[in-house]
């Protein structure tokens, strides 16, 4: 986090990359790869696919960076590349989903949301962490890839509606309606799991 704060701003890094400074692009990688990885991983539920796509996305960004004119932020630009490439990948992959999940960070045990969800009077009190993670990822995979993208960016990454709309190139109302629908779907899927 400290390393990220000491980096020059995106505009400078992009300009330096356009002038052939590869270390500037490494700095952009350092800054954005965790977020882009998280986006891909949560859309694919597969670590290996996320790894391959991450490399492809940054390769594409590097090849196209001379065409980046700064009309949007670099953050929006690279997220748009990532979302589009991941949507294409997931559509090509079809229904053969094989989950390969990353481990949960041990810090989750201290998280406020986790503590609330596993309190004695909630429906999830008897579910252990691994089971919870598996259920949630299975539920996510039942959403369409467009809905999954919106849920990932809003609920998991905490992006505002306006930013998601810019990345996806859709109106904000579309983002809100997709979120509403996706939450409903997830509620239904998780309820089915709970009854089993």
């Amino acid at each position: 986090m400290d390393e990220e704060a000491s980096l020059p701003d995106d505009e400078t890094l992009v300009r330096r990359t356009q002038n052939g400074d590869t270390r500037a692009f490494d700095a952009l990688w350092q800054k954005y790869s965790p977020r882009i990885y998280s986006l891909i991983y949560n859309m694919t539920s597969n670590h290996e696919d996320a790894n391959d796509l991450l490399l492809e996305i940054f390769s594409k960004a590097y090849r196209s960076i001379n065409g980046f004119r700064g009309r949007s932020s670099f953050y929006t630009w690279i997220h748009a590349i990532a979302v589009n490439m991941t949507i294409n990948f997931v559509k090509k992959r079809g229904r053969r989903v094989q989950m390969s999940l990353d481990d949960m960070d041990a810090n989750v045990q201290n998280d406020k949301d986790f503590l609330e969800l596993t309190a004695t009077n909630t429906p999830l009190r008897e579910v252990d962490l691994a089971e919870l993670q598996k259920r949630l990822n299975e539920a996510m995979q039942k959403l369409s890839v467009e809905h999954r993208a919106v849920v990932t960016m809003f609920d998991i990454q905490g992006m505002p509606h306006a930013e998601i709309a810019r990345i996806l190139g859709v109106p904000e109302a579309t983002v809100r309606s997709r979120l509403f629908y996706a939450h409903r779907q997830l509620q239904n899927y998780l309820e089915e799991f709970r009854k089993k």
């Binding site: 350092q30 390769s59 949301d113 849920v151 998991i156 939450h183």
Partner: protein, 164 residues
């Protein structure tokens, strides 16, 4: 008891804790460098140049004033061509002293000569024909019908009369 929307959102937020192994991003960066080097070796320099140029060109936004400028340039060029500035070239001395009919005659003779077996071929005639510049001339037509002027006091004019 069903999960409400808030609980679903809380559950989703927990997915932030799903993390790749420590050191993953540094290793991935090294892999990225390795792939970039391999790609550079695979692709020709020309292709790399083309990709960079095309990427720059396709994202180029033409400012609105450029259209106005292009139109102005077009107008100036059209005016120059229309005014005949480029037609005022000095006449070639060879052609200036002779009429067009005389200039054509040797070439025509040469072409006709190629069709006969006993003709002595002269390359000079062909070269002269090739240099020939045909200049259009504007003159009153000899085929136009004569106009009769009924009122003898009025001057004869080539302008059409609208007094009937």
């Amino acid at each position: 008891m069903m999960l409400d929307e808030q609980q679903v959102q809380q559950l989703l937020r927990l997915k932030r804790f799903e993390q790749p192994p420590p050191g993953y991003f540094d290793q991935a960066l090294q892999e990225f460098h390795r792939r970039q080097r391999a790609e550079l070796l695979r692709r020709s320099a020309l292709r790399i140049w083309w990709e960079r140029t095309a990427s720059g060109l396709f994202s180029l936004r033409v400012p609105n004033y450029a259209y106005g400028g292009a139109f102005a340039v077009f107008c100036v060029l059209a005016a120059l061509v229309g005014s005949g500035v480029f037609n005022n070239l000095p006449p070639e001395p060879e052609l200036a002293s002779s009429s067009a009919v005389d200039s054509i005659a040797p070439g025509a003779r040469a072409v006709a000569g190629r069709l006969t077996l006993n003709h002595k071929f002269e390359w000079a005639d062909f070269e002269r024909t090739a240099r020939l510049r045909l200049a259009p001339s504007i003159a009153p037509s000899n085929t136009s019908l004569p106009r009769y002027v009924l009122d003898g006091r009025r001057p004869v004019s080539t302008e059409a009369s609208f007094n009937f």
